[in-house]
Symmetry: C2
Subunit: 401 residues, 2 copies
């Protein structure tokens, strides 16, 4: 399982990568065709990386049929048939015409990611008859992971578990949540975390992940993450706030596993001394939810049903008032992961999505116990034809510190 | 000078903060009036923080004249006359009408920050006769800092210097750039860094800052930062890449000073053993550029002239081929800083901006010496009526490690 320990044959590896990029490109082209688009222009880091395996400042021209062209502003590149250095996007239409490539009548742009001004500029440069939304096309394509992408998750998961195994010994008597988090961040980085936490949506500001303890776990957040916390400064109101970790507190550690471009999401709970019984009951219920997910969910399972059985189980155990928060309760129990931490599908009561092969998603049924902290695990799962595979493997019990 | 060591009278402090928010709001309202806007809708974290001192998910309605209203989606808030909980932006127009507030005919939206789809949604909800760009209004307002904001920079600068004073002892024989950077990150965090690195523009992905050594300093970057570096992974191609720090290498440390919401920018150079003479010559030239800036620049100085004298000095010393990079050279020597690391003004050859009182900007004349690394300092300056004040104070010579 430990891909990172396999010996890689690099000649084969680059073939693999190359085929994989072709597969991803073809997926996007198929979706473009189905949507009636002639072409799309891609200019966001995340989608450029998806289509090329690298990041540059510039524009990808991807027609529904035909060759993909990369128009690069920065860095300076060696030009080839498919890579052209430009200064500004307005140069692209003339270059296409010189190559006898028809300008797209229906052009898809990343309307859900690029700014309104960027959209207007591209629209003016290409003056298509019609525009459409490439953001949803790319998010749909990216929802089903390719073989190379799945391998990247496995590498992230192994590093993620390794880093988490180093957490407990970091705790020192008298530490605050943020002091503990800083040591955890260091261990994540030393295990290869690239640091950057990519999320879809402009306002999801968070730094590496979240460490919550005590009453701070109840603090509602302005963000669409599962839990809140006051944060260190009103400018980033999420996560650790300088609260001392006391005996009888849980410490929930939810750091993004960004050891490759593909993030695993994993939460584990640590505790000082003995917690109240209700905390163990809630934590065990979270484990039971994961077990039920593993045994029941498969290709075809409705994402809304996963939310529903989780809520039902919380209700049956009388723990619903603590489920996914107290003062503010998140209305989801999981989400797709990938190049961004919040990809489709979403596990909400009204989700229309079903599990499909090669989706990768995080399931995070959590409880906030007032005065104690948060409990419950989060794991990342791969949907395969044989059911779910849990890829984030690490002790699931509450770990003493 | 060390604000963080002053005893704060909190009653006065909140008055101060309150007056300051009023001042910032009035600045924006004045610019809206001048632009002919009836109102703007603000929904990005950075501008919400600027206008309220907090972050929420929702919308600020700020008319060119009259009271500001906050429409909050998350977190759950206590409503008052000026704070209203909503589920979606489409509710806002009816609430305004109920309060007998005229719907804006000319509505400014953050076109340079919100996505095209967000723009369309707000436009459909308010159906104004005309729209305009609130992004440039807010960036113009934010360019001139208020008294409270200037105090925040001073607090950041003190912590920044303190953290930098702890860097040299962190070096251990055999370390790579990333190993050294991880220890620097920890020290930044322990001194209060909030971690998040806010930049204007969707594609400016970077983690906390950059540590460059040896030949990696020459690697061109896709990003609009002063220097490059290959990074750890093609998905974030900037900064440290795992290169060993060898004798005869410089190590340029350029970490964002985000100890408050207002970032100071400061670069210092460390070195192992003796560097080639040209490295010291270039570093001393950078110091001379800073000295010239301090002695010549004042209210009214053209930002383009600062670029021009820097380039001239590099030419006169025969160092222009190393100035701001080698294979790819940045065409700026500085930039405004604030809630984002790249605010106006910009110090470019064609900048039309002039220095105005209470601007805060970073000046970073740097050189890349092939095989050695990068040299040159960066400091953050406040423009006052008495000239420039350097707020990032720390040893400027190359520091041995």
């Amino acid at each position: 399982m430990q891909i990172s320990e396999k010996k890689i044959n690099f000649a084969n590896y680059f073939d693999f990568m190359d085929n994989d990029l072709k597969y991803r490109r073809l997926r996007v082209q198929k979706l473009l065709s189905e949507a009636g688009a002639d072409a799309c222009i891609i200019t966001t880091n995340v989608n450029i990386y998806y289509l090329t395996g690298k990041v540059f400042t510039g524009f990808i021209f991807l027609p529904a049929e035909g060759e993909m062209l990369c128009f690069v502003q920065r860095p300076v590149v060696i030009e080839d048939e498919f890579t052209i250095q430009i200064r500004k996007p307005e140069e692209i239409p003339a270059i296409l015409e010189n190559r006898e490539i028809a300008l797209p009548k229906t052009l898809y742009l990343e309307s859900g990611q690029i700014t309104h001004l960027e959209f207007l500029r591209l629209e003016a440069a290409f003056h298509p008859q019609k525009t459409g939304d490439a953001t949803s096309v790319l998010r749909t394509a990216r929802m089903i992971k390719s073989p190379w992408e799945i391998e990247q998750f496995r590498i992230s998961a192994v590093c993620h578990s390794k880093a988490y195994s180093e957490i407990a010994p970091l705790f020192r008597e008298g530490m605050t949540d943020i002091e503990f988090q800083i040591e955890i961040e260091r261990v994540m980085r030393r295990n290869g975390s690239i640091g950057i936490f990519r999320a879809f949506g402009g306002n999801m500001d968070i730094f590496m992940g979240s460490v919550l303890t005590g009453k701070n776990a109840e603090t509602p957040s302005p963000f669409d993450f599962a839990l809140g916390g006051a944060g260190l400064n009103p400018t980033v109101p999420i996560g650790a706030c300088g609260e001392k970790i006391e005996i009888g507190n849980s410490v929930m550690v939810d750091m993004a596993g960004n050891f490759t471009a593909y993030m695993t999401d994993m939460t584990r709970v640590f505790a000082r001394g003995k917690l109240p019984e209700i905390a163990y009951k809630a934590h065990n219920l979270s484990i039971a939810m994961h077990n039920r997910l593993m045994s029941e969910a498969k290709v075809g399972t409705s994402c809304a049903d996963i939310y529903k059985f989780s809520l039902e189980m919380a209700e049956n155990e009388g723990l619903v008032e603590y489920f996914m928060g107290t003062r503010q309760q998140a209305k989801f129990v999981g989400h797709g992961v990938g190049l961004e931490i919040n990809e489709p599908p979403v596990l909400t009561p009204r989700s229309k999505e079903i599990l499909e092969p090669n989706m990768v998603f995080a399931f995070e049924p959590k409880f906030v116990i007032p005065g104690v902290g948060a409990v419950g695990n989060e794991n990342t799962y791969l949907v395969s034809n044989n059911g779910l595979e849990k890829i984030t493997k690490f002790d699931e019990e509450i770990i003493s510190i």
